[in-house]
Amino acid sequence: MNHSQRYKRQVRLPEIGNPGQEKISRAKVLVVGTGALGCAALSYLAPAGIGTIGILDNDAVEESNLHRQILFATRDIDKPKPLAATERLRAVNPDIKLIPHFLRLSADNALDLFKDYDLILECSDNFPTKFLVNDACVMLNMPCIIGSAIGFSGQLSVYNYQGGPTYRCLLPEPPDPLLMPTCADAGVMGMIPGIIGNLQALEAIKIITRKGDVLSGRLLHFEGLEGNFMEIPLALNPENKRITRLVEYELSCPDLLLKKHLIGGKDFLNRLQDPEKYTIVAIGEDEEPLKIKNHSWSPVPLHKVPELIQTIPRGKKILLICEYGIKSNEAIKYLLVKEKFRRAFGLKDGLSALRILA
């Protein structure tokens, strides 16, 4: 294949040249997560000519993704992300092999999937996946580039590279999911994962071509509001290399679970007709009752939920409501993860959104 025109500007770099481009075209890279980080990384990896790129995600495109997940267009809403991304990247570079993996990464499939690749870019939006990717890479002795972003901040490092530290040298265990804000709760400025995803792609090129100082043994942290990059040294704890099996942290990932426990306004109004089946728990910090149509509930504050829940029989279905859907989401996560209360449902976006509908 003659790449003389497409890759001319990067081949001209003495660090790349024809040998470097040859390495790039032989490389096999898997991008785990096709959200904001993944889209940014992919949008440079594919044009650079990475020979084989795996694109993994188990989600479909949503409208709320579009402000930062730059591979997707409005017409892609509801399409599986790996397929929409593949379609877009194929148009950009038809010479490379793109493999969409529309599935959830799990302890059962991670090792099998990873062994067909040389390098993993971890671009998911949650800790359980970051730990799973790290652990699988330690077991297979392959490097992974893990990035993350929230608000106006982001960070990345290359882990398990040539005997360097692993992700567990930064964080020994996944943080308590109920303590950790996610981008869905805390928000994120699209450029931040854009910047971090691009840096992940750059590290991939450095590893593949064996040029420059790979970002291993140091965490690069970016504070966007200040415009500051900081480097934090990371040291290897040899204990973290001793991983013999993968642990599934799905239960610690309340965002994935939460989605399955949210119901829309119409569904909620229907369920209200059947008061026998549901215990309604209204959450609010002041004493003002929560109202919709001819219904009215006196709210309990969020911190009283653990106490209240002990008084509700286990078999009963619980319907949680609040004004904006934020507090009820927190309560559902608590019930699902801490109390293993599988029959808790919440009103998506709260009563305020329902009033518009009603």
């Binding site: 800790f127 993350s148 901040s153 943080p175 308590d176 996610t182 805390a186 504070e223």
Partner: protein, 74 residues
């Protein structure tokens, strides 16, 4: 004694990015965390004067504490 604390990412919410703390002599970084109401579980990296350090170590007047939370979004 007075120390300086630099906070990063989500730890800045309701606290600001830099705070001065008045602590008793002999106080440790853990005491500083308590005063700032930052649970230990919300700390991924704690540096004293730019170096990764033991949170139980005694602080000196003028020390700079940098605290980073785990960042997991994407």
């Amino acid at each position: 004694m007075e120390i300086k604390v630099k906070l990063f990412a989500t730890l800045r919410e309701n606290r600001g990015k830099e705070v001065s703390l008045e602590l008793k002599e002999g106080a440790t970084a853990e005491d500083a965390l308590k005063k700032l109401e930052i649970p230990k579980k919300e700390v991924a990296i704690l540096m004293i004067n730019g170096r990764d350090d033991d949170p139980g170590k005694e602080l000196k007047s003028g020390d700079l504490l940098s605290i980073f939370p785990p960042v997991g979004g994407g």
